[in-house]
């Protein structure tokens, strides 16, 4: 994979890392009342939209109220999954000491068990971001997105399999969770039984979710049950398409890079920051868009600081972008349409073997290298600095 960022020397990398630590310190010092109020407000919105959404679906007699109800329920599920669930489970609000927002106990409205998700996401994905073979989120083990991944005939179908996944994303997320946990056990220690145990955790969550949306609430509607089933199905699907779109824009856009396990050997904290930067991409948009994406619109900031309360990413972004500019590093951002189009281009291009993929990519604009860094590194061992 080509990089369009300037290659930094060891000292430059460390300086870059130090500037990022500085930002973290500044921001963490401010975390407090505002952040607590934010998550409580979002939580309130999530509760109200659910009550209102389910109520409207339940008592609607024509398509408009039914439609509004479905949208509200979808919105509620999106808030629950994105701005609350994802961020709470990263421990962003553990400091509040509020059981509602505690990463250890939080469980979300999706068929993915939160503990399994925390393992493959918080640990595997956030530690080994875009490292092929280690970050199982890179292509989710079925989508080929770079020439470093081996081509197989099955990849020819990946446009369709991704379209399918988009509508059923929660199932993908859930099934992914237990498999990653299994794949991370050393081969020799794997037993058939363990896989079954992991799978049962997933099955249990499915059961809980399905009964809630497709049995409990429909039964409350009596003979009107088909309407409620349909409303829930649509709401879940809207949520699926939305989360898929946001999440795929996070790491699979055109200039998001991948790494090999060899590259990350002896990685320092600063190297890790650089990798997070190169591997992630942002989406620009409105405040409402940021909220509904759980601030994954700020994927880069999120990857640098996964446990900083998400609404802070907006204020970190300009600072981080300035630091990137200073060090000649590409800060990958763009509109949702642009980023989403790039993702699909990548899915399409790499569904073919490398030769064809290269040709398809050949028509793409020449890769533009970022300008030289505008920093002067001071050699601390230089003699002039040693006081006489």
């Amino acid at each position: 994979m080509k990089t369009i960022s300037k290659k930094l020397s060891k000292a430059e990398t460390e300086a870059f890392g130090a500037e990022l630590e500085e930002i973290r310190k500044d921001v963490m010092a401010k975390v407090g009342t505002e952040d607590a109020n934010h998550i409580k407000r979002v939580h309130k919105a999530y509760r109200y939209t659910e009550i209102l959404g389910r109520g409207l679906i339940h008592f609607s007699f024509e398509p408009i109220t039914f439609g509004i109800g479905t949208l509200l329920l979808a919105g509620s599920k999106i808030l629950n999954n994105m701005e609350i669930g994802h961020n709470v489970m990263h421990g962003q609000y553990d400091w509040m000491n509020d059981p509602r927002f505690n990463s250890r106990t939080f469980e979300w409205d999706i068929v993915s068990d939160s503990k399994q998700w925390k393992f493959y996401h918080n640990y595997m994905h956030h530690t080994f971001t875009n490292v092929l073979g280690k970050d199982h989120d890179y292509g989710y083990n079925f989508t080929r997105l770079t020439d470093d991944q081996k081509w197989k005939p099955v990849h020819l179908t990946q446009m369709f399999s991704n379209l399918f996944l988009m509508f059923h994303f929660q199932w993908g997320v859930g099934a992914h969770g237990y498999r990653v946990e299994y794949m991370e056990i050393p081969k020799k220690l794997r037993k058939k039984r363990t896989l079954k145990e992991y799978r049962d955790v997933f099955f249990k969550k499915i059961e809980l979710q399905l009964v809630k949306d497709y049995l409990f609430f429909p039964i409350l509607a009596g003979l009107n049950f088909p309407k409620v089933i349909l409303g829930n199905l649509l709401a879940n699907m809207i949520r699926n398409v939305w989360t898929y779109s946001i999440i795929f824009c996070g790491h699979f856009t055109e200039n998001a890079e991948t790494f090999s396990p060899e590259e990350i050997k002896n990685e320092t904290r600063a190297d890790w920051y650089i990798r997070q930067l190169k591997g992630s991409s942002n989406i620009s948009g409105s405040k409402f868009f940021y909220l509904m994406s759980g601030h994954l619109s700020h994927q880069i900031e999120h990857h640098m600081y996964p446990d900083v309360p998400s609404r802070r990413y907006q204020e970190i972004a300009p600072r981080l972008e300035a630091v990137c500019k200073k060090y000649g590093q590409n800060y990958n951002t763009g509109s949702f349409a642009k980023q989403f189009a790039e993702v699909w281009k990548r899915i399409f291009v790499y569904s073919f073997p490398n030769k064809i993929a290269k040709k398809l990519l050949g028509n793409v604009k020449e890769v533009q290298l970022m300008p030289e860094p505008q920093i002067v590194m001071v050699d601390t061992t230089s003699e002039e600095l040693i006081p006489a």
């Binding site: 975390v31 509040m96 000491n97 059981p99 990463s103 249990k204 809980l208 009964v211 809630k212």
Partner: protein, 362 residues
């Protein structure tokens, strides 16, 4: 039931998954912040100054609060800068009062005590736990002669006890020896003056330790003072509450007495001669993190210093919110300097200091 095996096997867990109490709690809270399905909450209905740096907070509790016995304390939870923090305070009113009160003296650098003194307003709602504590008096077996020794904020449970005695027509004889730093520092001065005039069985002596003032005894606890104030010391049941130095010196005099005492002390206030041999690795199994802790403070504090916030409550070993399963490694209990074994067991993070490489189920 083959179709729904998990729900069939644990219907209760499924019901909890619906979060019925969370929902009810949410709806009730939206109607009135004092309403709740299970949490004891209280509205602040009045605040008055009790001394130079102590305030009495009058509370109107909801029906979940089960009351208290004179001398007990209650966990109080407030939100400070977005964070829920819990501290224990003695109830200072008598249990028969319609509105219970707590009296809070500012602690130097104390987060909650300063918050309650400066920022709490009438109308605010705070969260309470249930009252507990053994520093109480048995109304069915009241002794004839009592001695109360208090220092600083240690007076609050004693105030509650003496008020209760006054209400129950106590027939014996009680003396109170109360140490404050200076005149304006005396808590409940007015209240005790009133109690003393209205109840012939009560005798109060104020002692100022830092700034002498005419009309007041000054100094610390001495044989001379004791002999003068309570010549019949041996016959008395003693209630002792106050800072550690006072308690240590008081206990010298009270070797032959039956003493009921209470010591409010944060684990970190206890002096130790412990020398750490360097940072120790602590593996957090559930959050998949490994951190280095110095072993100088409690694990809870050291984790918080690193930005990791395990659930915690009282931070002094009472509430067990911070209890965490340890799968390996040993810790030292800060309070009594005992070492745990290195096997599996539950430890309280706020009371434990790391000794060797630890694995925590957190």
């Amino acid at each position: 039931m083959k179709v729904l095996p998990f729900i069939y096997n644990s219907p209760k867990e499924y019901w909890n998954y619906f979060q019925p109490t969370n929902w009810l709690e949410f709806v009730l809270g939206e109607i009135n912040p004092l309403y709740s399905v299970s949490t004891a909450k209280a509205k602040v209905i009045a605040i008055h100054s009790e001394s130079a740096d102590a305030k009495t907070i009058v509370l109107q509790t909801n029906r979940h609060w089960k009351g208290f016995q004179a001398g007990q304390h209650v966990p109080v939870t407030v939100e400070i800068a977005g964070r829920r923090v819990t501290r224990y305070y003695s109830l200072s009113s008598s249990p028969s009062a319609k509105n219970p009160t707590i009296t809070v003296k500012r602690q130097k650098g104390g987060l909650v005590s300063n918050f309650l003194n400066d920022r709490l307003k009438v109308g605010d709602v705070i969260e309470l736990g249930q009252a507990s504590g053994e520093f109480t008096i048995d109304p069915s077996a009241l002794p004839d002669k009592l001695l109360f020794i208090a220092g600083g904020s240690g007076i609050t449970p004693i105030h509650s006890i003496i008020k209760t005695l006054a209400e129950s027509n106590y027939k014996g004889q009680a003396k109170l020896l109360y140490f404050s730093r200076f005149k304006e520092d005396i808590i409940f001065f007015q209240s005790f003056a009133k109690l003393e005039t209205g109840n012939s069985w009560l005798e109060v002596k104020h002692v100022l330790t830092d700034v002498p003032s005419p009309g007041y005894e000054s100094g610390f606890l001495t044989t001379e003072l004791m002999d003068k104030f309570v010549p019949d010391l041996k016959e008395r049941l003693v209630y002792l509450c106050g800072p550690a130095p006072l308690q240590t010196s008081a206990k010298e005099f009270l070797k032959d007495n039956q003493v009921i005492s209470e010591l409010f002390l944060l684990p970190t206030q206890i002096q130790t001669n412990y020398q750490s041999s360097g940072p120790v690795e602590v593996v957090l199994l559930q959050s998949h993190k490994t951190v280095l802790l110095k072993g100088e403070k409690s694990i809870l504090e050291e984790l918080e210093d690193q930005g990791i916030y395990p659930p915690s409550g009282c931070r002094m070993g009472i509430c067990h919110t911070c209890t965490c399963r340890k799968t390996s490694g040993s810790v030292t209990n800060i309070k009594d300097e005992t070492m745990s074994d290195s096997g599996e067991g539950n430890i309280q993070l706020c009371l434990s200091r790391v000794d060797e490489k630890l694995e925590l189920d957190f």
